[in-house]
Subunit: 345 residues, 2 copies
Amino acid sequence: MSRVSSRITLQDVAREAGVSLATADRVLNGRAGVREATADRVRDVVARLGYRPNAAAARLARGETYRFCFVLPSGPNVFMRQLAEQVTNTAEWLSAHNAYIDLVRVDVFAPETLASTLEGLIGRYDGVAVVALDHPRVRSAIDDLTAAGMVVVTLVSDVPSSHRRHYVGVDNIAAGRTAGTLIGRFAGGRTGSVGLIVGTPALRDHAERQFGFTQVLSGEYPALRVLPARESLDEDARTQAIAEQMLREVPDLVALYNVGAGNSGIAGALTSAGQAGEVVFIGHDLTDDTRRFLLRGVMDAVIHQDAGHQSRSAARVLLAHCSGEPLFDEQERIRIDIFVRDNLP
Amino acid sequence: MSRVSSRITLQDVAREAGVSLATADRVLNGRAGVREATADRVRDVVARLGYRPNAAAARLARGETYRFCFVLPSGPNVFMRQLAEQVTNTAEWLSAHNAYIDLVRVDVFAPETLASTLEGLIGRYDGVAVVALDHPRVRSAIDDLTAAGMVVVTLVSDVPSSHRRHYVGVDNIAAGRTAGTLIGRFAGGRTGSVGLIVGTPALRDHAERQFGFTQVLSGEYPALRVLPARESLDEDARTQAIAEQMLREVPDLVALYNVGAGNSGIAGALTSAGQAGEVVFIGHDLTDDTRRFLLRGVMDAVIHQDAGHQSRSAARVLLAHCSGEPLFDEQERIRIDIFVRDNLP
DNA sequence: TTTTTCTTGATGTTCGAACCTCAGATCGGA
DNA sequence: TCCGATCTGAGGTTCGAACATCAAGAAAAA
């Protein structure tokens, strides 16, 4: 049996170090007016006793409230709607920690709008989480925010070259590779063509998934030929039209990978062509629709990134950076979930 | 833009309801001596204003410390070692919430020992998380604990018929089904036999996985014949011997599913038989070993349940039940993770 | 030696809620 | 109408840390 922790207050530390509470306090909060030797003594005792400030008391005493802003894309995208909903839940949870979230939705396909929205946030928040577009204007807006002393994290879609403090989201190249491996395996040694549908290659996450997917298929499944990517703009109707055309014109079609939204369109096309369950179909993001497609055998796997995790993680990261509390990195890693019919949550 | 929360104190509620702080306090903490009509008025205002007690202040004021005990199996099982490590991390996190964890390890294959260990905990803790054996003695020990007013949650392996307050873990039938579907798909239309290795059918989770697996394979992949299950007792050497024997004696072996531990043994057998990558191999629990096997192509998929999630979830559940704080169910659902080479964390 | 500057201790207030006591107020029943 | 029982208000204390102020003592500079 191992007692893993204890409860030690600043009082204990002060007594043990032979200084007053005030001095111990000055050391711990980096206030001036303590001889270096004394400060060291205090720090020693802190380490030896394993003193950990009572977070509840500290927050209560500070009485600070943090203001965060989450900037998400507007539009009908189901995943983004889920994310917005989860942000609302997160806000409720955060309110117990003296932090408030405002939620802003802007047009994701307009870098100028996004950039100017971001710039309008300067000084009004302590931290910003943004589903970013990798565009020079957006990058410079992010840098402006950090220059103004705000903590910025990118959410779902990264801008690696910016000064964002953290990226909360998955490795989309790995997500694409995962799709590639699953399609390669599910195709079961068949030879033929694989249809590839993206929302728009202008979105960094779509481009990365496409890259990872093609990499795996062309490298390891030579029997499968990846057709040139078609753009759906994430619209159901357009996606359906593309899928229908493929089913008509590609006789040896063995699989479909949909990088973006619009899975309902593909399911519709497969079903009406009588090919549901025949053509391997993998897409992204678990929704009511894709869950149903999995259960019906229309989709074979869904690659997912949990909106709730990402929202909470972004909030924790913002909070930790603003209040100086520690972060458990391992807990903040967002995973690439694979769902098949049998492990649906 | 939507401001999702606010900060309202009990003071505000009392003022708005036209009562004193003391009365509002009595209502919220269920203390006697308030007329029902007045209490209703207060509750109305609480709802209307969306008052949420400041958790930090509440905990500070209560000053309670909760003592939890985590009872895990002893022995060399890697997953259980991971779990123990994560419990230690969780303990550190919990110490910021005035809660302490003791960690006890007992022999999992001895229901008597487990049961008497549990009974020895009575009165010494506020809550217990236990990796339970589904055995009448253990069940009655759990019921004794709850009868003594302690909160008990089962971890990883459930005892559904007991009075445990909560089960933190995955649906192991679903996990077995997931393995079945993946093997069925990965086998790619081949015809042949599938080897099935369990630790011991006495463990509920093993039995459930076996059940789910067999259900899917026999129901949906008639070309695959599931061999009678062999028992490995979770030992590498034994597992290896079984795998070697299967590889020798079953000429049409197309896949192996290992329900318990001992994946290294199977990997060894496959490699030395020159069958690595030929025979589909799926097992449980991501470890350094299984990760390596995935990357080398010896294993095709690993079904995983995150030890860190489970440990933290158990702690949150215990804390919530003891302190009466709310739980977000959705966050406490443990997922069945599927890992292939490309989505390793 | 005398100032000035630097350290330190002592002491207090604040945060929001939990919990306690005591004195009135109100109410029902006899 | 009066009595006890039941409400309610007012006030205080506590938790642990953050932060402020003031004065005493020590060390360094003049």
